[in-house]
Each structure stands twice: as structure tokens, then as C-alpha cells.
């Protein structure tokens, strides 16, 4: 560990910093905080599940781009004017792509008419089709004639040529009903409600800008709500995401401030020097830098969750630094002190690296990213301790503090309670049995609905909008598979027939399929034949007598059919919501009776009911199982390493400390009602890695002169880790709080178990009762004698 090594390592860190700045600052590697992009990145064998997740991803991505506002006022004009005002304000917000009001939707009419009129005979509304099937074309003829003389008629010279029986307006009206657009303005209980829909820039989702957009939108809403007669409500994923992020951010900021202050205070108080503090900071920074460098070299896009979990390795990296700075400078030169801790440090690193590397055995990109970040980060922190820390000034623990004395007392207590080898082996057996029992008693709960804090105000507004306008979140949908687009469209037509009773009896509020917008070619051909035989042939001459229009008989043989192609997508962008890869999606509104829906779908093989929340929960369930497996592999690797280092029995005992900590965290959090999911399992990983460090450091030093220094380092490490992670338990966001609870319980258990399972140290380390040596400074230089050697 010469100055040359240090120089080379500093150059490496500088280059890494430059690389990270270029990659992330220059936008070459994207930090993706979009939750949606996390899912669907796997390659599971089950194609069906893969398609489900892909479809969920598609749906969520589409929905995340929409924010829905509902403006209400006591009269129509006031409501529409306020809606126009809101639309204007929203359109100026950075990140708004388009704002749509009922007026704007009406403005699409000419374009839709122009595009669809050539296909008018093929596009029948369900009611018109039913009328023609019942051979009651006369009713449509009557309507046509009346419409010719209506003040609100949209009839013009062109429509008369292409759609003389005005079938298209009926079709468009039915279409709007399917899509839940309502009539634009809704009147209910003496108030008028106007929807305003903002389409958001797709780059907004998952970026920091979404919070800014929500803030600006809320300002616009509040400006209108200041009018006593106007009320604006809102819904959309962007609002929920921003609310959750805001709570989580506020909590984490508060906790980070407390934790940082606490750690700085602790280090400052114990060492009364900036050296140890700087050592800890450099170690942390280089660990994070190494992690980011590795992950940006390998991946073009890094997910924020991977960054957050990867960064949690600071809890381990800070231990490395504390382990070094806690060695009394009186024990020799910097390099001599380093050599004292190097075996424990190396073993701790190996165990953690093996543990985190085990995460990469899963097929999930997220876990692989966490694994690579953590492994590289830990190695970076380790190398910094070896190469750089010996060059930093160190100070012994201040003698005026009772901390050395406290450590000595604790060591004595631990000595008294440490059982003999058979007792510790028995404890390991009990721990293993505990794991076995936990598989029976502790069940996973991967429901993602439980992760967030929930925002009752937003939920209430969402329900109001859904109730009044029929718009907003509709979590369930159907995935329609089929070899061809035509095949899928026909399935959807059969599906509508099948679900019509549910729509009538209220089991389902509404649905929209691609076939509702673009019927299958088979259906279009049928429609053309119906129109020809039921309208044109019997009533065409009568109509021609009123309007001198040149009627051309439609023919299914010569007509071109409307298809779900790019041209249709251009005019009807809503189609994007109804397609995902080679599948079609059927959007459902207000599923009131899931079992009735499932029953109705039973014998339609190509239709699959998907609940996004359940699908994502299942995915996280799979992640959790992979994490369990990786944890098992890590523990086994730790056992092998410990046995290799300490022999069979002692190795098993050493392994028992982190394993026991994990079990305590598992059982303790279960007792406190913490649900076990992927994220809490990742917290167990951290418990295991830190717990392994504790016991390995202690085991390596138990017969050495720096035994008490190590005990002090472990105590300081516990305090810093509990400050960093334990305070998370006070968060109001369930996910953050649950992780904090698991880590806090686990680390305290690890601290208690580590000296016990590391084996007895000196016969009387503190010498308190017998030797009556009360001067800690004296104790520091006293080598322990081996007792109860394994």
C-alpha cells in the first residue's frame, strides 16, 4: 500500500468520476425512475405471463400520459368557460403535449367524417345493425328524412353522396359512448361537469419533471378553485406518482438529515477529528462511484430502484472505514494497523460480494443491476480503505468519553453469555429450524397496493370523476390473442355479444374493443350487404325523390375495408390504447362483478382477463422468490467461506450470526405485521451482509490486541447503520418504513449475535469483576487469552 498505489487508485477514481459525469451528465446513460419501464424486462419461459406484463406495461404507459380534470359549475356556460380557462393554463405548462375539451373533440368531427365516410356502409352502429337485421330499414329511412330538415343536421353535399342515410353520425355516437367520453358536458344534481384531458409528453413519466408538471397543474387548478362556484377535481397516474414521490422524498430527506447529522456528531464526538469523518466519506463516495461506473459501463439505462438499493451499500462501506479508523493509532503505523484488519475486511468483502453476486442469478434486469452496483461498490470501498485511508490522519478515541468503558462492559457481558461450542452449534440448529418454520408461518405479500401511502383526497377525486364522467382509472383489461388482426377482431365481436348481458345488468359499466371502432372485415362485409338490401334497394329511390342524389349501391365485393393500420391510427390515436404488439387490448370500465366476468370469459380461449395490480404484484412475487434463492445461495457461500477459514464447527457458528440476524429480522418484522415482499427481502440482504461483517470482524480479532477496537468499530457501525436505515422505520410511506423496520431489527440482532457466535474471547476481557481493573486505557493494551478454543 504505497503512495504509488494510492496515486493509481486516485487516478482510477478521477477517471471513474469523469466517466460517470460524461455518461449521466451527457445523457449517454439514462437514469430511469419510471416504474413502468421496470416491468416486462424479463425473459420468462411462460410466454403468457410475458405477454401479460407487456400488455400491462403498454396500458400503464398509455394511461400515465393522461391527466383528467373535471370542472364543475352551477351553470353550463360557467363550467365550459372555466374548462376553457383551465385548458389554456394547462397547455402552457412544460410537458403538456395537448389539452382536449369537449369542444376540441367536437372539432375532430370533420376529420373523422372525411376519413370514415367512404366506409360509411360498412360501419353500422349496433342499433342500426339491429334495426336492419330486424328488417326495419324504414325506421332508418324516416330518421334520414327528418335529419335532412333538422337544424342540427351535419348533412352536407359530400355526406349525401357518400353516406346518404346518415349512418356515420350514429356510428360515431355509439363509438363515443363506448369510449366513455360521455356527452362532453354532464349535468347532475344541479351542476354541470366538463372534462378536460391533458395528454402528457411521454418523457415526463418517471422524470423529475413530472413533479414540476403536477405542481404547475395544481397551481392552475387552485386558481380556478378560488372561485366559490367552481370546483376542479383531477385524476391520473401522474398525480398519484407525484404524491407518493413527494411523501417518500420528504420522509427520506428528513431521515437523511437526521442520520447524517447523527453520524457526523457520533464520529466527531468519538474521535474529535475530521480525519475519521473524511475517511468514512471518501470510502462511501468511492464505493458509490465504483458502483455507478460499473453499472453505466454495462447498461445503457439504469433504473433508479437499482441505484437506491445499490447506494444502500453505504451501510456496509461505512463499516469498512469505521473498522479501520477505530484501530488505536498506538498499535503501530498505518500499514501495520491496516494489516490488523485486512483479513476480516477481506473476508467481509468476499462474503458480501458473493451474497450480492448471487442476486445476478435471477433473470431480472433490476436484480442484476443491483448486484453489479453492489459488488463493484463494495470492491471500490474496500480498495479505498486499503489504498487511501492509511494516508489520512487518525485520532484515537477520546479518553474523556465513556465509550471505551462501555465497550469493555459490553464485551464482558457478551463473554458471560457466550455459550460453549455445543451451545452455539445448538443455536445454529435452532436458527435453521427457525428458517424452516418461517416458511410455514411467514407468507409473502406482494400486493403493490400496500407499498404506497395512498392519497385519500386523490382517490376520492378519482372516484368522483369516474362516477360522474365515466372516465379515469380502469385497472382491469382483457388481452385478446390471435394469429391475425382479423381473427382478433372477430374474437372481440364475439366478446361484446357475450358481455352484453353484463353491461345491461351492471356487472360491467362499460368496455371498448378495437372491433368497436374498426369492425372485422367479415362484419364490414355483412354490414355492407345489410345496408344494400335493407336500405338502398327499398328506400334509395324514395330518398332520391327528395334529394336529387346519385345513389350508388354499395357492394361488399368491391368496397375497400377499413383496417387497423397506420392511416387509421393517425386519425384515431385512441387505437394505440387498444393494441399491444401482436395482441389487442379490451379496456373495461367499472368491473363490478369480477366472478361474473370470469364466468362469461370461460370458454373464450383467446381472451385473458388481466388486472395490472395483480400482474405487477405477481411479478414482484417472482422477484421476491429470486431474492430468497439468492439469499440462500449467499448464506451457503458464507457458510463455506467461514468453514474454510475457521474450521467446521467454528465456521458453522460464525455463519450462525448473520443467519440468525436474518431470521430475527424476518420473525420480528412478521410479528410487527410488516408484509414480506421483494423490497423487504432486499433489506434482509443488507442485514445479512452487514451481519456477516460484524461477526467476521470480531472473529478475526478475537485473540488479537485490537479486539476491543473491533468491538468499538462494530458498535459505531451499528449506531451509524441504525441511524441510516433504522430511522426509515419512522417514514409515513409503508414501503420505506417496512424496509427500515426489517433493517433495524436485523442489525440489532446481528450486533447481539456477532460476538456470541464469534466465540469466546479473552477469559475476562474487561476484567471488571475479578481483576478490578477499571482503567480502559490499561485494558486496551491487554491481549486476551484464548478460552474455549474450538
Amino acid at each position: 500500500m504505497t503512495g504509488r498505489h494510492a496515486t493509481i487508485w486516485i487516478m482510477c477514481l478521477v477517471m471513474a468520476a469523469a466517466w460517470c459525469a460524461w455518461q449521466i451528465g451527457g445523457g449517454h446513460t439514462r437514469i430511469d425512475s419510471d416504474f413502468i419501464s421496470l416491468i416486462g424486462q424479463e425473459n420468462p419461459d411462460d410466454t403468457g405471463k410475458f405477454n401479460d406484463i407487456n400488455a400491462v406495461r403498454h396500458i400503464l404507459a398509455q394511461d400515465s400520459r393522461q391527466a383528467i380534470f373535471m370542472v364543475s359549475a352551477p351553470n353550463r356556460d360557467r363550467a365550459t368557460n372555466a374548462a376553457a380557462d383551465l385548458a389554456g393554463r394547462l397547455s402552457w405548462i412544460n410537458g403538456t403535449e395537448k389539452v382536449t375539451t369537449p369542444d376540441d373533440r367536437a372539432g375532430r368531427l370533420p376529420e373523422l367524417m372525411a376519413f370514415l365516410q367512404p366506409h360509411a356502409a360498412a360501419l353500422l352502429s349496433p342499433q342500426d345493425r339491429k334495426t336492419l337485421l330486424a328488417d326495419k330499414g324504414g325506421q332508418i329511412y324516416q330518421r334520414t328524412v327528418q335529419n335532412l330538415y333538422s337544424p342540427a343536421s351535419t348533412v352536407n353535399a359530400r355526406s349525401l353522396q357518400q353516406d346518404p342515410f346518415s349512418l356515420l353520425p350514429q356510428y360515431l355516437g355509439a363509438l363515443a359512448g363506448y369510449m366513455g367520453e360521455g356527452g362532453g358536458v354532464v349535468s347532475q344534481n344541479g351542476r354541470y361537469y366538463v372534462p378536460v384531458v391533458a395528454s402528457l409528453d411521454p418523457r415526463l413519466a418517471g422524470s423529475d419533471r413530472d413533479a414540476q408538471w403536477v405542481g404547475d397543474a395544481n397551481t392552475a387548478v387552485n386558481a380556478l378553485n378560488r372561485n366559490s362556484d367552481i370546483n376542479v377535481t383531477r385524476t391520473g397516474q401522474v398525480f398519484f406518482a407525484a404524491a407518493e414521490a413527494s411523501h417518500a422524498k420528504a420522509d427520506v430527506q428528513r431521515i437523511a438529515l437526521l442520520a447524517t447529522s447523527g453520524i457526523v456528531f457520533m464520529v466527531g464526538l468519538v474521535f474529535f477529528s475530521w480525519g475519521p469523518l473524511l475517511a468514512a466519506l471518501i470510502t462511501l463516495a468511492s464505493g458509490i462511484l465504483a458502483g455507478i461506473t460499473a453499472i453505466t459501463i454495462i447498461f445503457g439505462t439504469v433504473h433508479a430502484i437499482a441505484m437506491v438499493f445499490g447506494s444502500s451499500l453505504i451501510g456496509i462501506a461505512v463499516d469498512y472505514a469505521l473498522h479501520y479508523v477505530s484501530i488505536d493509532p498506538a498499535r503501530g503505523s498505518a500499514h501495520q494497523r491496516l494489516r490488523l484488519i485486512l483479513p476480516g475486511l477481506t473476508l467481509g468483502l468476499l462474503t458480501s460480494v458473493v451474497g450480492f453476486a448471487a442476486l445476478s442469478i435471477s433473470p431480472t434486469i433490476l436484480l442484476t443491476q443491483i448486484a453489479i452496483y453492489s459488488v463493484a461498490g463494495l470492491i471500490g470501498a474496500y480498495l479505498t480503505v486499503i489504498f487511501l485511508l492509511p494516508f489520512l490522519p487518525v485520532q484515537p478515541v477520546r479518553n474523556y468519553l465513556p465509550i471505551r468503558r462501555s465497550v469493555a462492559i459490553l464485551q464482558y457481558v457478551q463473554y458471560r453469555i457466550t455459550p460453549p461450542t455445543w451451545g452455539r452449534l445448538s443455536l445454529v440448529v435452532i436458527i435453521l429450524a427457525g428458517f424452516g418454520a418461517s416458511t410455514f408461518f411467514i407468507k409473502g405479500d406482494d400486493n403493490i397496493r400496500n407499498l404506497g401511502r395512498g392519497n385519500t383526497d386523490l382517490i376520492a377525486q378519482t372516484n368522483t370523476i369516474r362516477h360522474i364522467l365515466g372516465m379515469g382509472a380502469s385497472p382491469m383489461f382483457l388481452r385478446i390473442d390471435g394469429p391475425t388482426a382479423e381473427n382478433r377482431l372477430q374474437t372481440e365481436e364475439a366478446l361484446r355479444t357475450r358481455l352484453t348481458p353484463l353491461l345491461k345488468n351492471g356487472a360491467l359499466d362499460g368496455m371498448v374493443t378495437l372491433a368497436d371502432i374498426i369492425p372485422s372485415q367479415k362484419r364490414q362485409a355483412e354490414n355492407i350487404d345489410l345496408v344494400k338490401t335493407g336500405l338502398y334497394q327499398p328506400y334509395g329511390p324514395k330518398l332520391a325523390a327528395i334529394v336529387p342524389v346519385d345513389l350508388k349501391l354499395p357492394s361488399s365485393a368491391t368496397s375497400s375495408f377499413l383496417r387497423p393500420d397506420d392511416a387509421s391510427l393517425h386519425v384515431l390515436p385512441e387505437l394505440a390504447n387498444l393494441q399491444s404488439g401482436d395482441s389487442d387490448l379490451v379496456r373495461l370500465r367499472g368491473v363490478q362483478d369480477v366472478s361474473a366476468l370470469k364466468n362469461a370469459l370461460q370458454d373464450i380461449d383467446n381472451a385473458h382477463l388481466i388486472d395490472p395490480a395483480s400482474a405487477i404484484s405477481k411479478l414482484f412475487g417472482q422477484y421476491r422468490h429470486w431474492a430468497y434463492l439468492a439469499l440462500g445461495v449467499a448464506m451457503f457461500a458464507a457458510l463455506v467461506l467461514a468453514m474454510f477459514r475457521y474450521g467446521l464447527r467454528d465456521g458453522i457458528c460464525v455463519f450462525g450470526a448473520p443467519a440468525g440476524a436474518v431470521l430475527c429480522a424476518l420473525a420480528g418484522s412478521f410479528a410487527l405485521g410488516v408484509p414480506h415482499n421483494f423490497f423487504t427481502t432486499m433489506a434482509l440482504f443488507l442485514v445479512f451482509a452487514i451481519g456477516a461483517d460484524y461477526v467476521l470482524f470480531l472473529a478475526e480479532s478475537r485473540h488479537s490486541s485490537h479486539d476491543q477496537d473491533t468491538s468499538l468499530a462494530v458498535l459505531l457501525s451499528l449506531i451509524s447503520s441504525v441511524l441510516a436505515f433504522g430511522l426509515l422505520a419512522t417514514s409515513s410511506v409503508p414501503l420505506v418504513s417496512e424496509i427500515g423496520i426489517v433493517i433495524a431489527i436485523g442489525l440489532i440482532a446481528a450486533w447481539v449475535l456477532a460476538p456470541v457466535m464469534a466465540g469466546r474471547r479473552s477469559a475476562n476481557p474487561a476484567g471488571i469483576p475479578d481483576a478490578q481493573q477499571t482503567n480502559p486505557d490499561t485494558l486496551m493494551t491487554k491481549d486476551g487469552t484464548a478460552d474455549d478454543q474450538i
Partner: protein, 212 residues
């Protein structure tokens, strides 16, 4: 649609004269006088619909009833009997046999017609000005003219080029010019304001709550 908006606002002016002895709301611009809350307006119409490329227009005659806040009843007597009701719930066609057909159920595209009419029924020029450039001719002794041109980006702009309304105390003539050279000429006669409630046969045509 938009014509109805114009028509209503202009028709409202008539109520000022007809409802003698009742307080009137007179707006700052010509031809805009609101009906009282408990009044409706009725009259006769003649509509000539000219479609580009067709030599003969479509001519119809009938009567109308305008109820602020409730809707417009447009009853065609010739050449074919039939009724169109434009109300807050949408547009409904009623044929000679009394069979009702809702047009464009739930479609915002059609709801816009009703919205515009409601704006006019409320006698609210500011609502019109949100969608139209409104030009008032200098007031003469007895007649006036209003020209409404939709904003280029507005929803109605794709369907109506402009609207020209003329009248005195009531709207007498409305021309709706449409893209492609189509236009409607509507002449309103025999207009007078009456106190609610509507006669039963008319009230039955409107949504129940609104006809009271």
C-alpha cells in the same frame, strides 16, 4: 345549432316587448335581451337548406319553442312531419308516430350543438365570444345585424364558416354559411314570449325536469 344560439339570443329580445310590466335584463349590445326565468318563446320558421351541387334546396316549414335552460323544440310540419328536440341531454328526433331516436348518443361531437344552444338560451354573449368573432352592425332605427365568425381553431370552425343574423326586437333571419358552399337560410315569424309552464303536448317533448 349555432344558429339556434343566435336565434335564441335574438328571440330573447322579443320577450322584452311581449312581457310588458315585467323587469327586463338588457345587455349592452344590440339585439340581446334575456327572457325572464318563467318565460319561453314560440314562433314559426321556414328553413331553406342549400347543398352545393344540388339545384334544388331542401325547404321545410314548422314551428319552434324555445325554453331557456331546457332546450329547443323544432317541429317540422312540411314537407314531412317530425320533431327535433335539442336539450341538455342531447338531440332527439321524434317521428310522426312519436317514436324517438337519440342522435349521436353520448358523442361530444353532437353535444357541442346543445352546448351552444344553451349558451344562447342563457343570453350570454360572453359564451359566444369564446367561440366566435362577434361583429355588431351599427344599430339602426329598428333593425340590426350580427355576424359571428368561428375562431379558426374552434370545434365549430370545421362545420360553420359564419353566421349572419338580422332582426329587430326578434331575430328575423339567420344564415348559416358552411364549408363547401352549403348554407341554411332560416326565417322566423310570429314570435312571441309566453309564460311557463309549457302546454302539455310541448312539455312532454322536453326532459321532465326542464319543462317545468
Amino acid at each position: 345549432m349555432t344558429f339556434a344560439r343566435i336565434m335564441r339570443s335574438l328571440l330573447l329580445a322579443g320577450s322584452v316587448i311581449c312581457a310588458l310590466g315585467t323587469p327586463l335584463t338588457v345587455h349592452a349590445r344590440p339585439g340581446v335581451v334575456a327572457l325572464e326565468k318563467n318565460q319561453y318563446l314560440r314562433g314559426d320558421f321556414t328553413m331553406n337548406r342549400h347543398l352545393s351541387g344540388f339545384n334544388d334546396g331542401l325547404k321545410s316549414q314548422g314551428e319552434f319553442v324555445l325554453v331557456p335552460g331546457a332546450g329547443l323544440i323544432w317541429q317540422t310540419n312540411a314537407p314531412f312531419p317530425g320533431t327535433t328536440v335539442l336539450g341538455p341531454g342531447g338531440i332527439v328526433n321524434i317521428d310522426a308516430d312519436g317514436d324517438r331516436t337519440r342522435l349521436g348518443t353520448g358523442a361530444a361531437q353532437f353535444g357541442i350543438f346543445v352546448d351552444l344552444i344553451s349558451s344562447v338560451l342563457a343570453g350570454n354573449w360572453s359564451a359566444l365570444e369564446n367561440r366566435f368573432h362577434v361583429e355588431f352592425s351599427p344599430p339602426g332605427d329598428t333593425t340590426w345585424q350580427v355576424k359571428l365568425t368561428p375562431f379558426g381553431e374552434s370545434a365549430i370552425g370545421g362545420q360553420i364558416t359564419d353566421i349572419i343574423a338580422t332582426g329587430d326586437t326578434f331575430v328575423q333571419q339567420v344564415r348559416l354559411n358552411k364549408p363547401g358552399g352549403d348554407f341554411d337560410d332560416i326565417t322566423l315569424t310570429q314570435q312571441h314570449a309566453e309564460n311557463l309552464p309549457l302546454p302539455k303536448e310541448k312539455a312532454d317533448l322536453l326532459p321532465k325536469a326542464a319543462s317545468k
